[in-house]
Amino acid sequence: MKSVIKTEPVLEGKEVTMQFGGLKAVSHFNLVMRPNELVGMIGPNGAGKTTVFNMITGVYTPTSGEIFLDGKPIHGLKPHRICHQGIARTFQNIRLFKELTALDNVRIACHTHSSSQWWQALLLTSGHFAEETRITRHAEEFLNVLGLSHRRDHLAKNLPYGEQRRLEIARALATQPKLLCLDEPAAGMNTSEKVALMELIRKIRDDFDLTILLIEHDMRLVMGVSERLLVLDHGVTISEGTPEMVRRDPKVIEAYLGLEEAVK
C-alpha cells in the first residue's frame, strides 16, 4: 500500500459538478485513484454514482470542475477520445451489441488500437489481413480470460445474463485501458456468481495491471473486494476511506446502511 501512495495518481477529479437544469446530480466531487487501486463507489439509488461514471467517460461534460487522467485533462473530451486515452467502462443496463457475436463485440473494442486504414480494408492489402488476424487473436484471448471462449460465435443477446455481464467486461478490457470503470457488474447475479465475479475482477486487476473503479449495490461484496470506498449521497461524497472506516462512519449508516439495516 505504501509504495502505491507514492506514485502519481491515475485518475484525479477536482471539484467536479454536474447540474441538470435545477438539479445538482453531483456536486464538488473529488477523487484520486492511484495505480492498481480498486476503489468501490456506493450510495443509495439516485446518489449520482452513474453520473460520476458518465462524467469520467465523457458521456456528460461536467458543468464545472476538472478531471485528469495521468495528469492530462480529459473533461469535455468526447467518449471515444477518453477511451483512447485509456478509460473503459461497462454499463449498468447492459449495452452489448446485441445482434453481433461475442467475438465481434470484443473485436469492436480492439478497434481502438487498430492501425489499419479503411481503404486498406476495401483494397484487401496484406496489412489489412495481418491486422484482422491480430485483432481476432487478441479478442479470443480476452474471451478466454473471462471464460467465454465457448460462446465465441453466439449472438450477444442469446447469452445468459451473467455471461452478458462478463462479455461487457471482456469488451472493456479489449480497449486496453489503464482505468476500468465497472457499473454494477454483479447486478442480477446470485450470491455464488457474485463471489466468483469479484474474484475474477481482482484477478483481472492483477493480471492486466489495472486500476478499477467499481459501482456496486451489494455492500458485503464491495467491502470484500475494494481497498478503498467512496460513499455518495444526493450527489455529495459523504464518506471516504477503507471499508472498515466507512462501515463505522455514522453518516454512512444514517444515509445508506441505516436505511438498509432498518429495512432488514
Binding site: 452513474t50 458518465n54 458521456v59 454499463f91 443496463n93
Partner: protein, 310 residues
C-alpha cells in the same frame, strides 16, 4: 405595403393547409412513432369522398347547408373507416417490429391508394370509380365571398374558415390530449405501449382511435382545401403530405401546437421566398430553412429533447 400584406395573407392561407394536414400527422406520430406516409393519401380519399357525395346530392345544382354538412360528415366517416382499416391491416401486425418496416408498408399503402385511384373505372361500379388520373372539379359547396378588405387585400370566407377550423382543431386536440381519459391513455401509450397495456389501458383501441381521429382530421383538411382550390386528383396528397410532415417535424413532431406553428411558418416562408426571391427555388428554400432549424434545434421548435439514459 399592400403587396407585403397580400403575401402575408397568402402565406397564412397556405400555411393553414399544411397545418391542417400536419395536425393529423403529428397525432399519429405522437402515439405510434410511425411516419404515416399514407396520411397524404387518406387526405386525397377525403377529397374524393366529398366529391362523390356532393355529386350524389346534386350540390352543384343547388347547394345548401344541410347538404354541405352531409358531405363533411360522410367524408369524415369514409376517412375514419379507411384510417381504421389501414392501421388494423397494415400497421398493427408490425407494431413491435423495427419502425422502418412499418414505414415500408406505409409507403405500400400510399402507392396502393394513389395508383388504385388512377385505375380506369370499374364497369360494375354504379358511379365513376376509380376516378382515373384526370383531375376533377370539386363542386362549390358554398360560394366564395369577401369578408373584408384592407386596401387592395381581401380576405375571403374560405381562408377565414380554414384558419378558424385549424385553430379549433388545435385547441380541440390539446383538450383531448390533456383533459380527457382518452387523452391520458393516448399519452400513456405514447410513452410506452407495453407498460400502458400492463396498466390496463386498451392499447389497440387507443391506437385505432388515434388513427381514426387523425384520418378524420385529414378529411376535413381535404374538404377545406378542395373548396378553395377546386382541383382534385389521385396524387394530390403526395406533396402536401410531404410538406405537412416537414411542418410537423419543424414544430417538433408529436407536438400539436408545434404542428400548427410549423405549418404556418412553412407556408409563410414558402410564400415570401416565392414572392420576393426566386420562385423557382421555392421548395429548395423551404427545405433549406427546415434543415437550418433542425441543425440548431434538433428537436424542432417545440419538441422535447429526449436523452437516452446511460
Amino acid at each position: 405595403m399592400s403587396e407585403f400584406l397580400q403575401h402575408l395573407v397568402n402565406g397564412i392561407s397556405l400555411g393553414t393547409i399544411y397545418a391542417l394536414i400536419a395536425l393529423g400527422y403529428t397525432m399519429v406520430y405522437g402515439v405510434l412513432k410511425l411516419i404515416n406516409f399514407a396520411h397524404g393519401d387518406v387526405y386525397m380519399v377525403g377529397a374524393f369522398g366529398g366529391f362523390y357525395l356532393a355529386h350524389l346530392l346534386g350540390v352543384n345544382d343547388s347547394p345548401s347547408l344541410p347538404k354541405t354538412l352531409v358531405v363533411f360528415v360522410g367524408s369524415m366517416l369514409i376517412c375514419g373507416t379507411l384510417g381504421f382499416l389501414i392501421e388494423r391491416l397494415a400497421y398493427r401486425p408490425l407494431r413491435y417490429r423495427p419502425r422502418l418496416t412499418a414505414l415500408i408498408t406505409a409507403i405500400g399503402i400510399s402507392f396502393l391508394l394513389e395508383f388504385g385511384f388512377q385505375l380506369p373505372r370499374w364497369s360494375f361500379m354504379p358511379f365513376d370509380f376509380p376516378p382515373g388520373p384526370t383531375p376533377r372539379f370539386f363542386p362549390e359547396l358554398f360560394p366564395r365571398t369577401i369578408w373584408f378588405n384592407i386596401g387592395e387585400v381581401s380576405i375571403s370566407n374560405y381562408d377565414a374558415l380554414a384558419l378558424g377550423v385549424a385553430i379549433l382543431f388545435m385547441v380541440g386536440l390539446e383538450f383531448i390530449i390533456y383533459r380527457t381519459k382518452f387523452g391520458v391513455a393516448m399519452r400513456a401509450v405514447s410513452f410506452d405501449p407495453n407498460i400502458a397495456g400492463l396498466m390496463g389501458i386498451p392499447v389497440d383501441r387507443i391506437i385505432s382511435g388515434t388513427f381514426i381521429l387523425g384520418s378524420v382530421l385529414a378529411s376535413v383538411a381535404a374538404l377545406l382545401v378542395s373548396i378553395s382550390r377546386p382541383r382534385i386528383d389521385p396524387i394530390m396528397g403526395l406533396m402536401p403530405g410531404l410538406k405537412a410532415f416537414v411542418a410537423a417535424v419543424f414544430g417538433g413532431i408529436g407536438n400539436v401546437p408545434g404542428a400548427m406553428v410549423g405549418g404556418l411558418i412553412l407556408g409563410l416562408s414558402e410564400e415570401f421566398v416565392a414572392g420576393y426571391m426566386l420562385s423557382s427555388f421555392r421548395d429548395a428554400i423551404a427545405f433549406a430553412i427546415l434543415i437550418l432549424v433542425l441543425l440548431f434545434r434538433p428537436e424542432g421548435l417545440f419538441g422535447r429533447i429526449t436523452t437516452e439514459k446511460v
